[in-house]
């Protein structure tokens, strides 16, 4: 059972449960979307567990951003590269279920209480935290670019492109792919 495509890919069942548990914890902490917790996923999967390397991690994020659909699918790819289909189930169930249940409960309860102090203090107080988390994730994702001057240049160019034009980010992803394929990244 531990061998083969649908097996656990060398992980124990306990490992899989811990994987789900860690992503379930992140699910409840990721105010502002799963990408805000990507730096912690990297710390856990690459640094603490060593299940995948930093390049595999970045490839998962890059592929999910280049494809249509919600960016949260990078979590599915992370699970897939750790342990195939079972790994995908582990990470996706972990990241989706707790926040979804909480959102449904709170939206049913708080539909008429949006202007109350506890709700407003939440969005005002957590806004800077969300932005700090995004900066950290951007920093971590940029690390494999160090020493590759083309890739290092792509980061600021992308930022300027996104802030100064209204064009689709797909253009930049395509440019990154071309620059990289030509050997400049």
């Amino acid at each position: 059972m531990s061998d083969g495509f649908f097996g656990t890919h060398g992980l124990g069942w306990l490992d899989l449960m811990q994987l789900t548990g860690h992503f379930a914890l992140l699910s409840l902490l990721a105010v502002g979307g799963a990408i805000t917790s990507a730096s912690d996923m990297q710390r856990y999967l690459v640094g603490e567990r060593g299940w995948i390397d930093a390049l595999q991690f970045n490839a998962s994020v890059a592929i999910a951003q280049a494809a249509p659909g919600p960016n949260i699918l990078f979590v599915a790819l992370l699970g897939w590269s750790v342990a195939g289909p079972l790994g995908l189930l582990a990470t996706m169930a972990g990241i989706m279920v707790p926040s979804s249940v909480l959102t449904l409960v709170v939206s049913r309860y708080g539909r008429t209480r949006q202007d109350t102090l506890p709700v407003r203090a939440f969005s005002v107080g957590l806004a800077p935290l969300t932005i700090g988390l995004l900066l950290a994730t951007g920093w971590v994702l940029a690390q494999p670019s160090r020493g590759h001057w083309g890739a290092m240049l792509l980061v600021p160019v992308t930022i300027v492109f996104m802030l100064r034009t209204a064009r689709s980010p797909l253009w930049m992803i395509a440019l990154g792919a071309v620059v990289g394929a030509l050997g400049y990244a």
Binding site: L26, G33, A34, S39, N58, V61, A62, I63, A67, P68, G69, P70, L73, A76, S81, S99, S100, L102, T103, L104, V106, S107, V119, F122, S123, V124, G125, L126, A127, P128, L129, T130, I131, G132, L133, L134, L135, A136, T137, G138, W139, L141, P144, S145, H148, A151, M152, L154, V157, T158, M162, L163, P169, L170, I173, G176, A177, G180, A181, Y184
Partner: protein
């Protein structure tokens, strides 16, 4: 738009189809497409209702678009509606992403493919950073003031990005600090309206 001009989804199947359709149009950001499809094309909700749903979705943990789908589905068909809307967002895009990942795994030894992915990874970093910079503009209107906000932003980025502390402690610590500060500022404002 007149409120009586609003339509509603007839079945969970229709909900699934609509969310599949908008997910497939969303490269890099599904939210903008969701507004165009749900409000303008299908007229399943008013602009006001969309903003209301979005603000709840942003406050709750989890991806905004997923939360929006959950709540919208729930309001029409209960939990079955939530399931249909989220499944619509994820099912087909997941299949596409897995095919791309399989192609990548097969050809990752080719230097051009590895290079392309490194280039795309750098762009992904730039996309996340640009989102952070764009949202940072909203901090100027934050009730806690720009100074306090900047300090929390810097402390969060350093603790997570540089020191690599576990997220749970940083969110619980700095999140609680931000919540307490915001509570104090907002309750003072409420008590003495200027």
């Amino acid at each position: 738009m007149k409120p009586d001009a609003l339509q509603a989804p007839h079945s969970t199947g229709e909900l699934f189809g609509a969310f599949t359709r908008l997910a497939l149009q969303g490269f890099g950001g599904v939210l903008a497409v969701a507004q165009r499809e749900l409000v303008e094309r299908l007229r399943w909700m008013s602009q006001e209702e969309f903003v209301e749903l979005l603000s709840i979705s942003q406050v709750m943990p989890g991806p905004n678009i997923i939360n929006l789908a959950l709540i919208f589905g729930d309001r029409h068909f209960g939990w079955r509606g939530s399931l249909a809307a989220v499944a619509g967002l994820l099912a087909v895009p997941l299949a596409i992403v897995l095919v791309l990942a399989a192609l990548y795994a097969h050809y990752s030894a080719v230097p051009q493919v590895a290079g392309a992915l490194r280039g795309m990874g750098a762009v992904a970093a730039g996309l996340v950073l640009s989102t952070a910079f764009r949202l940072a503009g909203t901090l100027r209107r934050n009730a806690m003031g720009l100074g306090v906000c900047s300090a929390i932003v810097a402390a969060t980025a350093l603790a997570i990005g540089w020191l690599r502390w576990p997220l749970v402690w940083v969110v619980l610590g700095l999140g609680a600090l931000g919540y307490a500060l915001a509570w104090r500022v907002l309750s003072t404002q409420q008590a003495q309206p200027r």
